[in-house]
């Protein structure tokens, strides 16, 4: 995982609540055994007028002109704005991979589904929880101002624009540290190998029926 650095990027406002991971990346693309290459299929059903298949040249598919992602005003965004309960449904981490593969580094929403939130942190995608009022201002600005951009600072836990908008957000210390350092959770846990082994030894005595079944 790459360390998360302060950045300034343009926004993409998708004004919908309960955006599920099936919508973020439809099922046919989950057949891949890789973590990359999902970007062209982010929001595939909303983005294209035709049904896509893995492996095809998606640049030749007919775009849905009514979907905001296809509006030239929102070219190459790096911050996604959404409404409540973003990322609900399936646990597919492909949703996070697709968002990141498209170039998005942070998602700002009033609330996130638990599994999606967790998956984001494991991949260096920053999920920012903002109040409904702040979300309303961000949506208005992003829809009215061409190339509306924000600066996202994780060290200070702040989001600002060049005008007078700013918000502070919460993130737990462990996730913040991991994101900033680009740390791999597995490496951190393996440092506790002795503790896990000791726990396992005792636990095996208490609940032997959980072991050696296969």
């Amino acid at each position: 995982m790459k360390p998360f650095e302060k950045f300034t990027g343009t926004t993409l406002p998708i004004d919908r609540a309960n955006i599920d991971t099936d919508t973020i990346i439809p099922k046919q693309y989950l057949k891949s055994v890789k973590k990359t290459g999902f970007g062209p299929n982010l929001f595939d059903d909303w983005r294209y007028l035709t049904t896509g298949e893995p492996g095809q040249d998606h640049s030749k598919r007919k775009l849905n002109p009514e979907f905001i992602m296809n509006d030239p005003m929102y070219k190459e965004p790096s911050i996604l704005l959404a409404r409540d309960n973003f990322g609900c449904g399936s646990s597919r981490e492909h949703a996070v991979w697709a968002i990141m593969d498209y170039g998005i580094k942070a998602v700002i929403a009033p609330s996130f589904a638990d599994i999606f939130y967790n998956n984001s942190l494991k991949n260096g995608l920053l999920p920012i929880i903002a109040t409904a009022i702040d979300m309303d201002s961000l949506f208005i600005k992003s829809m009215e101002i061409s190339g509306y951009s924000l600066t996202i600072d994780l060290v200070k836990q702040r989001v600002v624009d060049t005008d007078n908008f700013s918000l502070s957000y919460d993130i737990d210390e462990f996730s913040k540290y991991s994101l900033l350092e680009g740390l791999d959770d597995i490496g951190i846990t393996l440092k506790l190998k002795e503790k896990i082994l000791n726990f396992e030894k005792e636990y095996r005595k208490k609940a032997p029926w959980f072991f050696d079944q296969f």
């Binding site: 919908r16 057949k31 646990s91 462990f174 029926w209």
Partner: protein, 465 residues
């Protein structure tokens, strides 16, 4: 000692380490893996040259991509085939137990775990699939994880987790005989919303829950995730113990006695405090059908498609407008007037033998309506299929005009060939009515097995009370 909830007890029994900010390292007893969310995890392990921690905690099965007919012909789609073969190779390489496609024990991962006694009370159970909450019906702490966490568990046997809050849903009173566990959970999701359980572990309790079979409790816990909760739980009782006893991988003899004694303690203490609780009156619940594109968009069978003008706020109204337009429905339409094109009976929510029996009861001696282009039954496992065939249930469905398929996730998410065509409308026993879930532009209505069976016979939803 302070009174504890069932969740507190399960959590405490698995804490390996507590960090300064309150995060815990939690030991994982059982890891179920399938072909869709595991390949990148194995690849990561290889790249980092790491080892698997405990192979005997893992069971593998392919379920999402497998064909449900002409299975002897193999998997036609080369991309799906590669994914299934990748799982086979990873299992072979790491010497893991796998129920491969032609093994009779193969089936949907959340059906076969309990069926085989591979998931039992008191365990921590994870799987790269959000419907892992199903196993909580046995009094196990079970939840879905992403692929990074799959890799983490494979290598460390643990997860770094923050404890969630406790939510008690107390359900009391008798359900009408035509009302099932599926109707109950849909009703609950309608009440608390799809984010109502976010950040919580939900314990389902009360006399209505204890009256349900273990299969019914699995249907309830399965859809806890549709209310936003990663975990659903039901306390262990005699039904749980009876269900587990004698299953192939369940503990035997001395171990069984020891296990049972421990499992009997797996219930919330009487004075345990929950962060949130609600009570639901089961006697008032009617059969439920979803009308929209989120499981919370649900009404009773005698209801009508609601109008956005009555929504509580503008965001909700906008969501309803989108859903109505996607579903091709007008506000005010009676649910019983909704005509259908396809019928799907299956998924980890409703493909156990009890579900097939309930549907067969309705279908018996009748024919699928002419406007139904396809009615299919996909049993949850090879063993459910065999049991149904032993009882003649396959014949009941087939003579009515249903297709009788082989086990897998099938049209719940349509990763294999089983999909809706654009604008096709489907009555489905599955768990998600999201846009495109069953096929691009497909329109899904979630309901119980009995309701879906009745809809197949009538060509539209009908009041089965």
């Amino acid at each position: 000692m302070m009174a504890q909830t069932l969740y507190d007890k399960l959590w405490d029994a698995h804490v390996v380490d507590v960090t300064q900010d309150g995060r815990c390292l939690i030991y994982i007893d059982r890891h179920l893996i399938h072909e869709v969310t595991s390949p990148q995890a194995f690849n990561g392990i290889e790249l980092a040259q790491r080892q698997l921690w405990r192979r005997d905690s893992i069971l593998a099965v392919s379920d999402h991509n497998v064909p449900t007919k002409d299975r002897d012909g193999g998997i036609k789609d080369p991309v799906s085939r590669t994914q299934v073969e990748t799982l086979n190779q990873n299992c072979h390489k790491h010497n893991l137990t796998e129920f491969a496609m032609h093994d009779e024990r193969q089936g949907i991962v959340h059906i076969i775990g309990p069926e085989q006694g591979i998931t039992v009370p008191g365990m921590t159970i994870v799987c790269g699939d959000s419907h892992t909450s199903t196993h909580g019906a046995l009094g196990a702490l079970a939840f879905g994880i992403g692929t990074s966490e799959v890799e983490h568990v494979l290598v460390t046997q643990c997860l770094i987790l923050k404890k969630s809050k406790n939510f008690l849903i107390n359900v009391t009173g008798d359900l009408d005989q035509a009302v099932s566990a599926k109707d109950l959970i849909l009703k609950i999701i309608g009440l608390i919303g799809t984010a109502g359980g976010t950040g919580y572990t939900i314990e389902f309790a009360g006399d209505t829950i204890t009256s349900l079979s273990i299969e019914g409790r699995m249907t309830i816990c399965n859809m806890a995730i549709e209310a936003g909760a990663r975990t659903g739980l039901v306390a262990v009782d005699n039904k749980t113990i009876d269900y587990v006893e004698g299953r192939p991988f369940a503990p035997k003899s001395d171990l069984w006695d020891k296990a049972r004694a421990y499992w009997n303690t797996l219930k919330s203490d009487q004075s345990a405090v929950f962060d949130k609780s609600i009570t639901v009156d089961a006697t008032k619940i009617k059969p439920q059908v979803t009308w929209g594109t989120s499981p919370e968009m649900v009404v009773s069978i005698d209801g009508k498609v609601p109008s956005p003008s009555n929504a509580e706020n503008s965001t909700k109204a906008a969501s309803m407008e989108h859903a109505l337009s996607y579903m091709g429905l007008e506000p005010g339409t009676a649910i019983t007037d909704i005509k259908l094109d396809k019928v799907f009976l299956g998924s980890c929510t409703n493909s156990r033998i009890e579900d097939l029996r309930a549907a067969a009861e309705i279908v018996k001696g009748k024919k699928v309506a002419k406007n139904i282009k396809l009615a299919m039954v996909v049993p949850g496992s090879g063993l459910v299929k065999r049991q149904a065939e032993k009882e003649g249930i396959d014949k009941i469905f087939q003579s009515a005009g249903f297709e009788w398929r082989s086990p897998g996730c099938s049209m719940c998410l349509g990763m294999n060939e089983d999909q809706l065509q654009p604008k096709e409308r489907c009555a489905s026993t599955s768990n998600r009515n999201f846009e495109g879930r069953q096929g691009k532009e497909g329109r899904t209505h979630l309901a119980s097995p009995a309701m879906v069976a009745a809809a197949a016979i009538n060509g539209h939803f009908v009041d089965i009370i």
